[in-house]
Structure formats: C-alpha cells, structure tokens
C-alpha cells in the first residue's frame, strides 16, 4: 500500500512540476527558441522590406547572404573593430577588475564597503546615459578630459573624431562602466581563498609578490576563467556606445557587428542579410566560449 501511495505521489508531482514549468518554458520556447531557429532559416532567405508587406516574395537563396557578407568591406571593418574592442577592452577590463578587487580586499584597506560601492556605481547606470555624458567629456574643445590633460602639457585630443583614437576612447568608457561588476566576483573569489595558505607561505618566507603569483592567481583561476568568459560574451555585443557616441564613425572605425546588424536589419530592412550577420556573431561567440571551456577543462 505504501509503495502504491508513493507511486501516486510521484505521478502527481510530475504533473505539478510541468504546471510550474509551463509559463516559463512556453515563453522561452515561443520568444527565444523559435526566434533563434527562425533567424537561422531567415539567414538563408532574401527577406527584405518588400517581404515585410508580402511574405510570399521571400525566396531561399542558400548561402548567398553569407557570401555577400564576406565580400562586404564594412563587414570586415565591423568584425575587426569588434575584435579590437573584445581583445583589448576585455583583458583591460578584467585586469582593472582584478586590480581594484585586490586593493579593496587588502587587509590594510579601510572603508572597504564605501570603496566597493563607489567602484560599483557605474555598473548600475544606463549605458546610453553615460555614453551621452562621456561624449561631452571627450569633446575636443571644451571637454573636461582635454582640460585636465592640458595640465600635464598634453595637446587637445580629438577623442571621438580621430579614427585611430575613437575605439580606444570607447574602450575606456566601457571599462569605466563595467569593471565594478567583475570586481565584485573577484572579491568573492579572493574571500574564498583560505588564510592558512598565506600564513604557510609567509612562514616559508614568501614575499607579497610570490604569494600573489603562487597562491592568489592559481586559486583565482576558476573565477578568472568565468569572468573572462562572461566579459567576452558581453563585449562582443558592442552596440549602444557607438550608436550614441559615433554612429559607427569616424570612417567606420567604431562600426561593430551588432551595430551593422541593426542598421541592415532595422534601418534598411534587409532582414535575411542581417540574420546572417547575427549568426556570424553567434558562431564567433560560440567558438570563444568553447575555447574557454576547453581551457578550463584542461586546467582541472
């Protein structure tokens, strides 16, 4: 009798589980999974502004969109710029996060919560709003940045108008805006390192630098892999900064993959073409993620 009862309970609970899951799963299926699959299908069609009004004009064109993408000079610019942003901005941002985490977490540091809160504040701000603010900070004639640099004898820099400097300028903004987030994750990682390790190293006569290299860095490796992974995924999606500050200019030097996708898809309504761009981005992110995971597995 007791087995029958527990059997019935399992059956009952399964039904209840699916009931609890159904709203979320339905939403994710309809508004996430189906769109992802549709985007893949779309990327093999010539879906454009005419198709918006009349779906019957859509034709399958195989890999034509992908072929056209790879022949488009601005796509290669966008890809190069995005990689520049990811490969320079990503590590820089992680380094700043780690540095500030070490400073805030140091034994000597006073007012830890205050510094932590201040460093974190830019994270909660709207990217659009701070991009607007930084556009003025970067103003060549009356921006604060050039004014402050003038005290160091540095001549005014046209931060967002010079094709060679616009992307570095955007990277600085992105690092400023985001470093507090990874800093918190690093602080959590640092607090998980047992004090005994440092005490033992101290007894063995290891100096602060050796302790950092031999204990802190290895113990932080899992945290770092995770942080680098989420940072890279996030940085590949560069959009609002160039949209607000440079519109992709000057000379397309800040055109990003997502900005290109937005312009093709939602400004010119070349939606099949834009879907192909989105999938190229997806594949690039996927490759990086798998690389990270393989790296992580090898280290374990």
């Amino acid at each position: 009798m007791s087995t029958e009862k527990s059997y019935r309970r399992i059956v009952d609970r399964t039904a209840a589980a699916w009931l609890f899951l159904s709203p979320s799963l339905a939403a994710i299926a309809v508004f996430f999974v189906v769109p992802v699959l549709s985007a893949l299908v779309m990327s093999f069609t010539d879906f454009d502004i005419y198709a918006l009004g009349d779906l019957s004009v859509v034709r399958f064109i195989g890999f034509e969109n992908y072929r056209r993408i790879f022949e488009l000079p601005i796509f290669w610019s966008a890809l190069r710029n995005t990689f520049y942003f990811v490969l320079v901005g990503g590590p820089l941002s992680v380094a700043v996060s780690l540095g500030t985490a070490l400073m805030v977490n140091a034994k000597l540091t006073r007012f830890k919560p205050l510094f932590r809160t201040i460093f974190f504040l830019p994270v909660v701000t709207s990217l659009v709003a701070v991009a607007v603010v930084w556009r003025y900070l970067y103003h060549p004639a009356h921006g604060i940045l050039n004014y402050l640099l003038s005290f160091a004898g540095i001549a005014p820099i046209d931060w967002l108008g010079n094709p060679a400097i616009a992307m570095p300028a955007i990277i600085v903004l992105a690092v400023w805006k985001g470093f507090g987030y990874n800093m918190l994750i690093f602080i959590a990682g640092l607090q998980n390192i047992p004090d005994e390790l440092y005490e033992a190293a101290h007894m063995d006569g290891a100096n602060a630098w050796r302790q950092f290299v031999d204990i802190t860095l290895p113990m932080l490796t899992p945290t770092s892999v995770f942080v680098v992974m989420i940072t890279i995924i996030g940085y590949f999606q560069l959009f609002a900064e160039p949209y607000v500050m440079t519109q992709g200019g000057p000379l397309n030097s800040t055109m990003s993959i997502v900005l290109l996708m937005y312009e093709q898809g939602f400004r010119w309504w070349n939606m099949g073409f834009a879907a192909a761009i989105a999938f190229v981005l997806f594949v690039v992110i996927l490759i990086f993620t798998l690389l990270q995971m393989a790296l992580q597995r090898r280290m374990q």
């Binding site: 609970r13 399964t14 209840a16 589980a17 699916w18 609890f20 899951l21 709203p23 979320s24 994710i28 996430f32 189906v34 769109p35 992802v36 549709s38 918006l52 400073m103 805030v104 000597l108 540091t109 510094f115 809160t117 460093f119 974190f120 504040l121 909660v124 701000t125 709207s126 990217l127 659009v128 709003a129 701070v130 607007v132 603010v133 930084w134 003025y136 900070l137 004639a141 009356h142 921006g143 604060i144 987030y181 994750i185 959590a188 998980n192 945290t223 995770f226 995924i233 590949f236 999606q237 997502v258 996708m261 939606m271 879907a275 989105a278 981005l281 997806f282 993620t289 992580q296 597995r297």
Partner: protein
C-alpha cells in the same frame, strides 16, 4: 589605532584616485545639469554651476515629454519584474524540488541557451510580434523579459537549499502544490526574490536595443531610447542632455544604493554558483 605605513598610504592613495575617476563623470553630469545654458561648454570647463538653475529639468518635463518616458520605463520595467518573478520562481522551484524525467537534461539545455546572444532573436521576434500587433506597444517591450534563464537558475540554486521535510510536512497536512509554492517556497525564497527583482528591474530599465527596435513611436519610448533620440536634436544643449541623463540614471542608482545588500548578494551567490555549473555543463559532452 593602526600606524600609517607607506604601503598603506600608497594603497589608499590608489583607492582614492580610482574613486575620483569613477565618480567624476557622474558628479559632473549632476553639476552640469544645473548650469545655465552654454555655461558647461565655456572654457575652462566649470565644475560648479555659477548660477543654479532647474530650467533644463523644467524644459524636459514641459516641452520634451520626459515625464511620459519616465512612466513608460516604469510600466515596462515594473511589469517585466513582477511577471518574470512569478514565472522564474515557479520554474526554479520545479527544477530544484521536483524529480521528473528529463529534468536535468532540460535544465542543461536552458543553461546552454545563455551563450546565444539576444541579438540573434531580435529579427524574427520583431516579425512575430508584428503579426500579433505588438509593435509599438508595452506588451512588445515586455514579452522578451517574461522569463529569464538566469532568473530560473538563480531561484533553483536558492530553492535547492530548502529542506525537503518542509515540503513533505505540508503535503501530509494536505496542502495543494500551489499552496506549498505560495506559502512555503515563496516566503523562504524572499531574499533571492528581492535580489532577482532588483536585477530584473534595473536590467529592463537600462535596456536599450530592444525598446529601440520595438517602440517605433516616440510616445512609447523608454528613457534610454528617448535620451538617445534627444541626442539627435539637442546635441548642442549640453546642460539639457545632462539633465536628461540624470533623470535616466538617478532612479536606478537610488534603488541600488538603498538595496545594494540584495544586489551584491545576487552577484556573489549567483555567479559563484554559476561557476560550478559551467563544469558539469561541458564535462557531459
């Protein structure tokens, strides 16, 4: 108390420099928003308003519909927060406390979805919502936020620590499954629900690309979209733009400062646990 050692002085000097770099743009934005027109772009750039004025805030409210955008942002972020909290908490609870076939593989499938950039979904989602007539409606802005994989994950981690005996005791008392969820799980999950509510509200408030796409008429703009649009017409009105930025940033900043305890916990608990999940996710392949 502690003697000031050179290393300590160096450390605190470094911390103060970083704090200044972090705060200067925000404080300058606030200060410039109270300056008279043109003052902020004079040379040398002033840091404190010579004459304190609220005229830009007044102009934003009276002429430029900023109150309306504020309400739009409130409606979208508020609705997404409330609805997704229900959806995610139910699903997270089911993943944590029910045993059913396919549970773990489905959960792993969901987690792997976190790698897909949201931009991939946007083109078909726009077309889908267009056929529903949801373009330029609050519904259109709310729909992608109805459920979030990260939210489900966060709740699952937290609900997993609730002892099974609590649930079994309620079952013996004859409580229905929904009653157990409502009167045992939800109250016990309150801390993580606060955290998730904050994450969701702030994330939706600051979201830019999707509302930019789905809100085609300026009466429906959320604050970030309105601000980016304002930049097109009023780029030269520096002080006005700063006031607009203040209105966009301040609500969430205050929310964060008041509830930061909950927010920080979400990152510390959620992310460090997410870490342990990445392992099994790939080890299985």
């Amino acid at each position: 108390m502690k003697r000031l050692r050179p290393s300590s002085i160096l450390l605190h000097a470094g911390l103060i420099v970083v704090a200044l770099v972090t705060m200067t743009p925000v404080l300058w934005m606030l200060s410039a928003s109270f300056m008279a027109p043109g003052e902020a772009s004079s040379f040398p750039p002033p840091f404190i308003p010579g004459r304190f004025t609220l005229e830009h805030y007044r102009a934003l409210a009276d002429r430029l519909q900023m109150g309306r955008y504020f309400i739009n942002s409130m409606i979208v972020a508020g609705a997404v927060t409330i609805i997704s909290l229900f959806f995610n908490s139910m699903a997270g609870y089911a993943f944590a406390k029910f045993r059913f076939k396919g549970r773990d593989s489905m959960f792993r499938f969901l987690l792997s979805g976190m790698v897909v950039p949201a931009q991939v979904t946007m083109l078909p989602l726009f077309l889908l919502l267009k056929t529903f007539g949801f373009v330029n409606t609050y519904m259109g802005a709310i729909i992608p936020g109805l459920a979030s994989i990260f939210g489900i994950f966060l709740i699952r981690q937290f609900a997993g620590s609730i002892p099974d005996s609590f649930i079994e005791a309620a079952q013996i008392d004859g409580a229905s499954e929904f009653k157990i969820y409502r009167s045992i799980i939800l109250p016990l999950c309150r801390p993580i629900l606060y955290t998730l509510a904050l994450f969701t509200f702030m994330g939706t408030w600051n979201d830019f690309m999707w509302p930019l796409i789905i809100m085609t008429d300026d009466s429906r703009y959320t604050l970030p979209v309105a601000l980016a649009n304002l930049m097109g017409e009023h780029a030269l009105d520096l002080e006005l733009m700063m006031a607009g930025s203040v209105i966009t940033i301040l609500p969430v900043m205050i929310l964060f400062l008041v509830f930061q305890r909950h927010y920080v916990r979400g990152i510390m608990v959620g992310k460090s646990n997410a870490l342990s999940q990445v392992g099994p996710l790939c080890a299985d392949e």
